[in-house]
């Protein structure tokens, strides 16, 4: 992938990710999150992870965000009225996030191998879905089954949680 496209999609992801936090209107935040996830899917594809990019779009930008928007509409949330902002708490939160960012940057800059270019792949394209499927079903079959049970439990739990309690 050309550096130009990488920076376009990286900036798209980061700017709209910041917009999620900054926007006061929950609907605007959710739509910013969709754009951020689409940029991230493009970054996945730039790393030759086509399958992950596709399920990023299908599961996150599709299913999860529809769920978020549905809940926002259901609860009829409007932009939160401008409450008195506690500047001390805000400054503290930003400072903690900046300290975390500084630590991440210092770790990355100390990684010598991180400055090497990506090694070339065997072919121009990779047979992504088949290879992931082979690894998933050969080496990670038990975790896969457990995740299936987890999703079932989550489904039953959601139905139970959203049932109205009988008076």
């Amino acid at each position: 992938m050309s550096p130009f496209l990488f920076w376009i999609f990286a900036l798209l992801t980061l700017i709209f990710g910041a917009a999620v936090v900054i926007n006061r209107n929950p609907v605007a935040s959710a739509l910013s999150l969709v754009v951020s996830f689409l940029g991230l899917a493009a970054l996945f594809m730039s790393l030759n992870a086509y399958f992950i990019g596709i399920i990023q779009v299908l599961v996150y930008a599709g299913a999860v965000m529809v769920l978020f928007l549905f809940i926002i509409m259901l609860l009829n949330l409007r932009a939160e009225e401008a409450r008195r902002i506690n500047w001390l708490a805000t400054a503290g939160g930003v400072a903690v996030a900046l300290i975390l960012l500084g630590q991440i940057f210092s770790v990355i800059s100390h990684l010598k191998f991180a400055q090497n270019p990506f090694p070339p792949l065997a072919g121009l394209t990779v047979d992504d879905v088949r290879n992931i499927g082979a690894v998933l079903f050969r080496n990670y079959n038990l975790p896969f089954q457990i995740v299936g049970v987890l999703v079932l439990v989550a489904t039953v739990g959601v139905v139970l949680l959203s049932k109205r309690e009988p008076r």
Partner: protein, 106 residues
């Protein structure tokens, strides 16, 4: 030339944005969205490492991509359960603001 470090930087910034969202915002739905941002930042660095660690067959390391697959699956289940809890909370209290939910506060 785009290196592994660039991808890790983007992932780190995205994680910090999500972290700041969890720290700063008081709307529970926005906090949930910020959590999703942090999960996705971790996914990005996992996929970048997967592409970086090319095996002798010339293929990326698919263990990391399977890991990302599991993360996405569990995150989707987590969002469903979390939003159901949010709806139940809204039904009981008519609020999604963390400042108004202080029953467990000492």
């Amino acid at each position: 030339m785009i290196t592994l470090g660039d991808y890790l930087m983007v992932s780190g910034i995205l994680f910090a944005i999500g972290f700041a969202g969890v720290m700063l915002r008081r709307n529970l739905i926005i906090i949930f969205m910020s959590l999703e941002l942090m999960l996705n930042a971790a996914n990005l660095s996992l996929v970048a490492f997967s592409r970086f660690r090319v095996g002798p067959t010339g293929l990326p390391d698919y263990n990391a991509q399977v890991f990302v697959f599991f993360i996405i699956t569990v995150a989707a289940a987590e969002v469903a359960v979390g939003l159901a809890i949010l709806v139940a909370l809204y039904r009981a209290r008519q609020t999604t603001d963390v400042k108004d939910i202080t029953s467990l506060k000492f």
